[in-house]
Symmetry: D2
Subunit: 401 residues, 4 copies
């Protein structure tokens, strides 16, 4: 039986706001009509605000964030180029894997899962690279598998300290639009995101913002590419027309999503993600459990990976949530399979939804045999939310009887 709302707490795809769903429900239209750019051109301009860039160029690919990863690499590097990467979760792992398959020579630093980009080690290796063999430095801003947010500003400082000219690639798929990200200020050259996280859309768009420096590097890039090539796609942000049929429906959704984002305010959204995440973390700690993210500085505001007690299989927690309580939690992936379950808390979300997630997780944990106290996590989060909201009070309105 499937009554009521499904409680979706995976860290993407995220809940789609009603306004966005409505906006996507359109009849089809001619993507070569003279007024088509009235839809598309403002999207490019507005996405730049989300990336916090003024000088970047935005590419919108029909595809996924993975496609945008590939676009970033194949358009600016060459086979055999040396790149500096670090691996501390399933998604940073997959990016390393892609770089290798596309023919890069990856200098990969393995870090314990639960930590993030090793900024000091980056700085050391960049400093050692006197001949400038490293063409690019990669940073996974938010590792979705472990709930770890890395210090991208720190990576920029490491590059600057070493006076190193490498391009800076950032995977912002599960951060951009939810966690503070500043493309220009941090000197990011290629910033990748997707539609299905902070942008609150279905999957289907891989979005890339490219710095002027990266566009220069593109001129030297000789990798084979076609679907993802900048050459074909670059004009889209100035003409509003696409080289192949664009997913018009998603573009209408993107319009609605950006409208919601600017209406709430990007910085307010970032603050809200912190507030909501903090409530979840209060709950986790009230259970007596800990996050996979080892230190507070790594805590992610979009996803919490929660380590279950040693005698519990996290897969049972997740299965209980899904089959008993209509709740989808994220699984532990690869190395942490069975050891963690994840609560995604990003996108179109509010306090009571987070309490529902905690309430459902408590039952799922208890059903799996974990010794967490019923209601304890909910209570801790409630008190946090009450205090936060009370600090921001609107005058009371009394309802009509």
């Amino acid at each position: 039986m499937k009554n009521g709302t499904t409680h979706l707490f995976v860290p993407g795809p995220t809940n789609i706001p009603d306004a966005v769903r409505r906006a996507m429900n359109v009849s089809m239209q001619d993507m070569r009509a003279p007024d088509y750019p009235e839809l598309t051109l403002p999207l490019f301009a507005d996405l730049k605000k989300v990336f916090k860039t003024e000088t970047g160029t935005v590419f919108i690919y029909p595809g996924s964030g993975t496609g945008a990863w590939e676009a970033a690499i194949s358009n600016t590097l060459n086979r055999g180029d040396r790149v500096l990467m670090s691996r501390f979760g399933q998604f940073s792992h997959l990016w390393v894997d892609m770089a290798q398959r596309l023919g890069l020579e990856v200098d990969c630093i393995d870090v314990e899962w639960g930590e993030g980009v090793p900024v000091e080690e980056y700085q050391r290796r960049l400093g050692d690279d006197r001949q400038g063999r490293i063409k690019a430095v990669f940073a996974t801003h938010n590792e979705t598998a472990t709930g770890v947010t890395s210090d991208v500003a720190g990576v920029r400082k490491a590059l600057d300290a070493a006076g190193h000219p490498a391009l800076l690639f950032v995977d912002g798929v599960s951060s951009i639009g939810s966690i503070d990200f500043r493309m220009d200020e941090w000197g990011v050259d290629l910033a990748v995101t997707g539609s299905q996280k902070g942008l609150m859309l279905p999957a289907g768009l891989g979005i890339l913002s490219v710095s002027e420096k990266a566009l220069e590097a593109h001129k030297q890039s000789r990798m084979e590419r076609c679907y993802f090539s900048f050459e074909d796609m670059k004009a889209s942000s100035t003409t509003g027309f696409f080289p192949y049929t664009p997913p018009t429906q998603l573009l209408h959704g993107l319009r609605a999503s950006l409208d919601l984002i600017f209406s709430e305010g990007l910085d307010n959204i970032i603050a809200r993600h912190h507030r909501l995440a903090e409530g979840v973390r209060h709950g986790v700690h009230a259970w007596g459990l800990r996050l996979c993210a080892k230190e507070e500085k790594w805590w992610s505001n979009t996803v919490s990976a929660i380590v279950v007690p040693d005698d519990i299989d996290a897969r049972h927690v997740i299965a209980n949530g899904y089959s008993r309580y209509r709740t989808s939690f994220g699984a532990g992936l690869s190395k942490v399979a069975g050891r963690v379950f994840r609560i995604g808390h990003l996108g179109d979300l509010n306090e009571v939804m987070c309490l529902a997630a905690l309430a459902s997780a408590e039952m799922s944990l208890r059903d799996a045999g974990a010794k967490v106290e019923a209601g304890s996590g909910v209570a801790a989060a409630q008190e946090w939310y009450r205090a936060e909201i009370a600090g921001n009070l609107q005058p009371l309105q009394v309802q009509a009887a």
Copy 2:
């Protein structure tokens, strides 16, 4: 800021399932096309199952439950007819008011709010009515204002015990489809419901099921009527065509809603409403509060009216819920304004949604100064739901990593 789901816990209109919303999103169609009855005729047949009647005739009015009340009265009674009614909440009050305004002579029994139809008193008065002056007996099956469910089967027994031929009118707006209701078995003559409660649709349909006996009485009824007249509308359930433009969109929604109802099973739905309501009641009692419904026999499975502590204004609880936590609770109406707030728990609902309601209510109560313990209601309900669901276990499925 309006992020995430609005948590709707008023006792109607209820949450609309996605499948129903989708079904209503249709282009317009010709309501006189030869295949139009393929949509409409099965609706009449299927609604009979929801009323649990085989011999009744169903009328679907563009309007509301209030309109169906009026249809019931104006088609089967005459001005000056004496009717037996009871009043113990805002909706039974309004029905009495309508009967009076339509020219009936109402023998009205006022009962304390928190109790239901006074079956024994009904039986006494019916027994006293040797001349059969009482033409109809009215029962509000579920008084939405106080969360009180009455004993309709008992009213039938009272009629039978008195050997009285009066028609039995039942307001089932907030019970039918959610709480056990048996038109034929209980000898109900006019059963009223609306689209926006257990049928999980927007408001817009007043639905009436009429017994053969009531159709006989109709022949003697001389009240002016037109829009709601049986004469014009009666053919619709056999031809599938309507005397004026029907709300086709809602009829498509009704199709989807009935499909959901039969897919889950009406009796399973009734059991689910009990299970969900019981969880809410566990929560209320864990807070140390009590229901407006005075005894367990009156407890409603579709709405709980919760009495706040004496020093608290329930309007503040409701205002907190709405403005701080995006949660809509029902207000106390009329006599109980300020003394109760209501949690509607009917329609398309599941356990975690009820926990969200309790979590939100706890915060709203505490913000209003009530001394309820954070997490206490949630914990009590969680344990009830866990036990109930565990008793019904499906084999576990482990999610893909």
Copy 3:
């Protein structure tokens, strides 16, 4: 097989614009929330613009136009009141029938179907009514069954010429929002419409605008009423709350519909209806057929009732349209059944849609044996539309290749 668009050319319900469909696809909400009036209050204000009234009060009933008819009568008149009506089509017939059933004494003038309100005869009878026995005068502005538009301004003149104080009731269901209608200027006291015609919504709202004079008359009205009573509903236009659950979904649709109307401009819409209708009439005349509306002054801009050749059954034309060409035409009703078929041309419509209607009608006529030339009606309408549009040219834009 049901491929592609169904071509809906009945005179209501009309095609729903995509923007309106989207707007109705909402999750349910609390109709007693403090911000609910933000949705509802502007609707009342904006509907007044559609009625072209500044002093009228608007009532929105969950129901249909028929319900609004009943509301108009039962709230302002009394049983036994004499009223002046005329009958020249199925809908004016039904209104007479309602008036009689609600207990009025109807002075009914039967006019040949194909003509409209007999203004001179009205003036004569009003002049003869020295004692002021006539309490109200009724006019069907646009008789949907015959495609006849009457002269409401003329009825006002007749009343004024006779110095008669009777209320003026106007059925504007298939005119308001599409054909010029001026409540205040014409001194209309009760103007009725529904959601499913010019307002481009599904059926489900009966809308009534009431003059100050009619509100005065209301104070003397003693008819039984409840669902449709002004007493309960009157506050809605000032508080934004409804006495029973309003059809929130339709209200959101109404918001979108009004936005479209004001965006196009009401007078532009009226001009467009003339332009589109005129094209259809050019087509009809090119076929060598004639309209049911006997003279040009009666021609309706929302629906054309077309008289088929004597040896043809119009029902076959309609059946051909529906079963062969996925096109819904309106049937001839009652007296003109089999003699006319109707093309509705109102609401969300453009030139090419009208050409599609004509093309489909030509085939349906020819299949039924009518000797109309293939393409002839289309050609005549094309030339009209080309000339009309060319007179209104925008500079050409060339599409991207």
Copy 4:
């Protein structure tokens, strides 16, 4: 002003059926839930029926048909491989361009635009290729730019006649699902399509069906690839899970689309496309114009590219259609820009819609100065459709009055 339906007659994206739009309007869901494959696995199985293959493996990429082209090449060939292609329109041109950019050595036969794949020349070159240097033969089944359908069965015969082992690649983007295509019977190794044509969905899916022979070739392919790699994606058709977030919304739409296709019957759809296209061609010839497709054997049933008179600029025709008549026609691309305009007639379409296209085109042509007779094309098409439909008659049904 934008009233009424936009008439979309570009050859893709095509009109989306209401049922498909509804199906896509879903809340988001967990793509790693244990029951997710209940949605996805049947899609793979059912797409095989659309490709008419039993042994093929289907890949569904978030992307476009262009992406599926790239997937086909980069997974089965190697840089420097020689391939045989032909070029006779913008889309076959772009495929050649892609092959070159991905590093293939293209043996390209240029054919006059208006003709199709030169089967005899293919056979000659294959016969000459004694060393088997040609690794693959490419055929654009339906060249959307010129409205030319090629003889894929003939290409197979050419391969067989030459006894040549090359892989056969077919671009079926604008044919599959609308024009007869038989993967297994014709020995096609890589068949490419997209969501936005015969599948009646928005753009966003690139779909590829791969023969067993092509999967063998894949093992020898060493091109860099990641996003489009078979390695990562191959498991999806057996597990139902995707390597990266799938566009769940479109997958729901695909489910609805496939249901519609099988409900109508694929062969019935192919016949309908022929019937509708033939009507359009009757219209074109009645205008005294000719198709870009030089001979009847090349005529496409999904798109007609119509050559305008020498003294007319086709861009004006298209601009007239769009700005005056809310109609989107396809532009002439590249070599035929200004010389042709295109009417797409594929997907969710019926006879009266095609008549609307012709009516609109007639006006647009006349406004541009072309000497075509008003109504002439419509009349010719009407007579064709009438005869075709009459041959298929259902017993008449008469509508309710």
